[in-house]
Amino acid sequence: MPAERPDTLRIFSLNCWGIRFFSQLCTERYEMIGELLGREQHDVALLQEVWSERDFLFLKRKLSSSHPYTHYFKSRVIGSGLAVFSKHRIQDALLHQYSLNGYPYMLHHGDWFGGKAVGLVIVDIFGLKAHVYVTHLHAEYSRAQDEYLPHRTVQSWELLQFVRHTSCGADLVVLGGDLNMHPQDLGNRLLRSQTGLRDCYTETDTFDGCEDGHTLIANNHFSKKQDLIPFEKGIRIDYILMKGSQRVSMKCESLSTTKGPVADKPFPYSDHEALTAKLALLRSEDSRQLGDSNAEDVLAVSEQMDVVAEACAVVKEGLCKTEALLDKARHLMFSALLLLLLPLALAFLPCSCSCSFSTLGLLGAVCMSLLVSGALLYLLFTTHIKVLKETEDQMMLTSNDLQTKLTRCQLSGSPSSDGSPELQPLSPFKGRNKSEL
């Protein structure tokens, strides 16, 4: 079968910073974003931080002719903030909410109230089945002392599991979003090594945008300079990742980012820069398989094992810290309970204590509040511990799997084609080896 002319796919990703009443010039910026999307006519636009449904509906109306297919992922209290606008029909959608996403009492961070998640839309593009993922991970507020690192690691793990498990039938896979992680951060390495997704920035033929592909830059007057310390110029935390399949091979022809101020406009689209990737699709039957597990060598497998081990260590550390927090919640509850006995005793004992009723009442009220808070925190931290343990167990399973692969690779001395009897025997049912998921 002769090679077919490649189709191209244009993907857009932007963290819109759509926090009504908090982020600056929200309404005006959405107008600009709508104009940009309407003008550029990307195949698929992946937006994050579209917190208000009204803003989503505004964009939907504005883009109804250029992007008639849309999906808005709703979760938690405020919502996931994830929206997809597509020129091509969206056949199905699925949402996976991350099990860990900060703490409700960190109100000034507010991540917990947003149901951070990964959304999947299955889109029919040129007759191919495209699995497009959009996501937004927990923010990093302090790189030096990142208390949310275990949460972000768990989110990265759940993201890669979700992509891995739901992309088997896909012809092509695209992931766009704000990962809130630098390119060599643990979560990023974990995601890429376990899914085989490739970073458009590193793979692109041509790049036009901020230096080093930064997506949060000092030059953008919405961004806070102290958030970028010690990275003076900017950081790269938004990504478009991609992967082909046996049927389709993908190549990033070009990648561009906005560069802060927008020409003819008084302010940028958001505090983040927008990413636009042009992906070429080669639908040849004899296209080279990319990300094929059969091509893994010993080095790649042992690298994967190292990353999983590193992630496991972070999760274990998170587990220790959360168990300590759980202890504190328990102490809070018991202390409150004990303290509660004090005003009750004083109220009923016929001693000559001159405590007024109001003081006792106040003390009682304080104790009750502490007891309720303690109980809620106990509930929260117990749930967190369960999630961390589950993630650790899943990582161990993957680690064992990789260990078996590694042993097999080392024994055979070549890419795995004759697997161990336990793992990859020549199936009696088929004339070929079945590659593992």
């Binding site: 008639p68 979760s75 029909r89 199905d92 599991q161 039938g169 369960k386 167990d393 899943q394 998921l437």
Partner: protein
């Protein structure tokens, strides 16, 4: 390609009723369950309501030689209760927690505190990729007025979405668990029709067990017989479902259930009966008729599926309406509490400005009322947050259902082309509205 011997695969599913301090003879029953699993020569055992990790670890130690691989799915406050014991290596595990699972204030039902979910384990049996799912849905406490029906429908929807989307590469799919739904209930029909999973009870060659395949029976001394009277003494709410693929045909050779009391023992394994199914995986000669790429629904079942999804969507809308009303009530009560508090503070401030007042300040009532207002504010705030989560989850599910219905419409329009392998290569024309 040489023909090969079919592979036998034995699966057990049991709701263990492992609610420590509440369920009867818990420890002794887990010993019995351990013995049962040892004797049964299963390939995989899917257990639900193993709420306490200590019970899981007990079984793990006891069954280590027979079932060296196991996974305990952890989620929520108490846990998902889902555990898997397998003879074959578990290559991977994944958990999907349901968005809705009851109400925290319904403490007597307690479902909310368990993190009900669907767990998936990946096995490789002689080169076949076998995806095994275990789940437990929200209980039904009152069939006539089922306030949890929207939650269970959402769970059934998410269950089928999860199975469909994660089993594209599977040769064999098996689902076992306590669905808490009768065979013809909306959620069960939705599940079966959309995923294409078959019910082992309806498909089995041989059956040996309770009448009608009931898994919750009045003969079981642990069950509450009053609830079962309208159903002729038993209900079928536990299932083992299965599906093959383009290359592998799966048939159910036999299915059996326990029948209440266990011979030689003073009590049964649980308040539910255990299901044991034996499957046969054989090479298929069907070719690409059931392509793995399709979501498992064949064109002639589409009209029925459309009806089922529409029915489910109606239930979700009803639930949404209720949740929005509850949220509004919580908000209104909270605002009233706030107004009352402000009013009270204002009244309390009067003596500070009033001159020559002789009436003593009613401290007791002031503080009591203040405490009441504060309690009302706090509880309505928590309820508002909770109902918002419920509303979002129901809206999200409704959106997905609408999308699915729109896809079905497209498929029905193109139905002569559905079974043709070429149709996927042709770009779809037109920009039909996504809304119905």
């Amino acid at each position: 390609m040489t023909t090969s011997a079919p592979i036998r695969f034995r699966v057990l599913s049991l709701n263990c009723w492992g609610v420590r301090y509440l369920s009867k003879n818990c420890k002794e029953r887990f010993v019995l369950i351990g013995d049962l699993l040892s004797q049964e020569q299963l390939d995989i055992a899917l257990l639900q309501e193993v709420w306490c990790e200590k019970d899981f670890l007990f079984l793990k130690k006891k069954l280590n030689s027979v079932y060296p691989y196991s996974h305990y799915f952890k989620s929520g406050f108490i846990g998902s209760g889902l555990a898997v014991f397998s003879r074959h290596r578990i290559h991977d595990a994944f958990l999907y927690r349901y968005s809705l699972n009851g109400y925290p204030y319904m403490a007597q039902h307690g479902d909310w505190f368990g993190g009900k979910a669907v767990g998936k384990v990946l096995l490789n049996i002689s080169g076949l990729s076998v995806h095994v799912f275990v789940t437990h849905l929200h209980a039904e406490y009152c069939r006539e007025k089922d306030s949890y029906l929207p939650h269970r429908v959402v769970q059934a929807w998410e269950l089928q979405q999860f199975i469909r989307h994660t089993s594209a590469g599977a040769d064999v799919v098996i689902l076992g668990g306590d669905l808490n739904m009768h065979p013809d209930d909306l959620g069960t029909r939705l599940m079966r029709n959309y995923t294409g999973l078959q019910d082992s009870f309806s498909e089995t060659a041989h059956f040996d067990g309770c009448e009608e395949g009931h898994t919750h029976i009045s003969e079981n001394p642990f069950t509450n017989t009053d609830g079962l009277v309208p159903f002729g003494g038993g209900v079928r709410i536990d299932y083992i479902l299965f599906k093959g693929s383009g290359e592998v045909d799966v048939s159910c050779e036999s299915l059996s259930t326990t029948k209440g009391p266990v011979p030689g023992h003073p009590f049964p394994y649980s308040d539910h009966e255990a299901l044991t199914a034996e499957f046969l995986f054989t090479q298929t000669t069907k070719g690409n008729e059931c392509s793995k790429r399709q979501s498992g629904c064949v064109s002639d079942k589409l009209p029925e599926l459309v009806n089922t999804v529409n029915e489910a969507r109606t239930e979700v809308k009803v639930g949404l309406h209720c949740a929005e009303r509850m949220r509004y009530t919580a908000a209104r009560t909270g605002i009233m509490g706030l107004v009352l508090l402000v009013l009270e503070l204002a009244i309390a401030a009067i003596p500070l400005f009033a001159l020559g007042t002789e009436q003593p300040f009613p401290k007791a009532s002031f503080y009591l009322l203040g405490a009441l207002c504060f309690a009302v504010l706090l509880s309505t705030l928590l309820l508002y947050v909770f109902y918002s989560i419920e509303v979002k989850a129901l809206q999200g599910t409704e959106d997905q259902m609408r999308l699915a219905l729109s896809s079905f419409q497209e498929q029905l329009k193109e139905s002569p082309k559905v079974l043709s392998s070429d149709h996927l290569r042709k770009p779809l024309d037109g920009k039909d509205s996504v809304h119905l």
